[in-house]
Symmetry: C2
Subunit: 226 residues, 2 copies
């Protein structure tokens, strides 16, 4: 079906998660052209001939969301010969968690994309290519990482309450956690800074705000939550 003389094309796709409106969401773009015209897809693009894979992913992340300085990690390389209907495209997927309040979706309509939007991961539309599979794999990996290092801070604003932190964990792990045990565990890790501020929220007891103190991403052996 393919001529063996055809060359490969190499792209990168970026899975960006955030928490908005109490939901875990992923950033998608709507395609302007075939294939999959009008369908939602992960932000992605061709890797330039003289940039590293990491640089390509960072560039694309910045182009779509204007976000920088992010925990961005190579996820997996997807290379099924049939994943792209027209040609052989191998894609190196990256994933990131970002704070929703850091985000300015600086989208200027262009020739490739007609829309950029956050979608709840629990109700995704039909996606282009194998992007659904990529997102699912990314979620799985995010959960695995969450057990070992507290990457959830990437999802939260600079100042947050323990309840917000717990909700982030519950959303990613998709299960409820015990409130007292959760707090106990996190406070014992000594990675949170207790602030002298409180939420001036609504009709309830104000909650103390915390910020992450030292963020040591790859340290911390041992489980957080299982």
């Amino acid at each position: 079906m393919f001529k063996e003389t055809k060359t490969h094309e190499v792209t990168t796709d970026v899975v960006i998660f955030t928490i908005k409106d109490d939901q875990l969401k992923v950033l998608l773009v709507k395609r302007a052209h075939e294939p999959f015209k009008g369908k939602w897809a992960l932000p992605g693009g061709y890797i330039r001939i003289s940039e590293t894979l990491d640089d390509a992913a960072l560039r694309i992340l910045k182009e779509k969301t204007n976000v920088q300085n992010i925990y961005l990690e190579q996820l997996y390389t997807f290379g099924d010969p049939l994943r792209h209907p027209n040609s052989r495209v191998i894609t190196c997927a990256y994933f990131a968690l970002i704070r929703s309040d850091d985000i300015v979706l600086s989208f200027e309509p262009n020739t490739e994309i007609t829309e950029v939007k956050w979608h709840p991961v629990n109700s995704l539309p039909a996606l282009a290519f194998d992007h659904k599979e990529i997102i699912e794999y990314s979620l799985k990996r995010t959960r695995e990482r969450l057990e070992f290092c507290p990457i959830a801070f990437q999802l939260l604003p600079q100042k947050f309450t323990l309840t917000e932190l717990q909700k982030a964990y519950e959303m990613i792990l998709m299960k409820k956690l015990d409130k007292r045990n959760f707090r106990k565990k996190f406070l014992s890790l000594a990675i949170l800074k207790e602030l002298d501020e409180y939420t001036k929220s609504g009709s309830k007891r104000p909650a103390r705000l915390y910020s992450f103190d030292k963020i040591t991403l790859n340290s911390k052996r041992g489980h957080f939550f299982s």
Copy 2:
């Protein structure tokens, strides 16, 4: 330095570990041509336009070593624009552990390779490209996996003694383990089948042989050794 119009080339390189002569070794091939003519390198090759990445890695593994049915896992994709001196080559690295007694190095001298040999990982020669980096990363990942699932069985013959198993772990983790605790732990996991055979070895007490019973690769949460 590169024209942006140049196309990417995509290869796969396979890191194959085994235990031979009481050492952890990696399979290398000697290159017949430039670049890096005469240097040792990982077995690798171009991904065909209509095969999956996994298939490409399996094919190359088979071409070089005649080994099949192997725990083969995508490791990482290396894409530094300067990793290949002549052109832009992105390589998708895989790694595998194999039993030394399964191996028939069926090497027929050809136009690309002049030699195939196992090299102790502790004393590697100068390697082509970034292959040293790939091997080191692979070792790191192997160690991480070893903590969670007992993949070391891939390195051992069908029948083995507990001492051999322990030595495999010690070689990969590069530290000594307590004999009693090691045996206790493994026997409690109920993944070994106790055979009614013994080594008819040399001048010492014969050791009982074991084989792996059910091999559940991705199961088994929880640490094995840390």
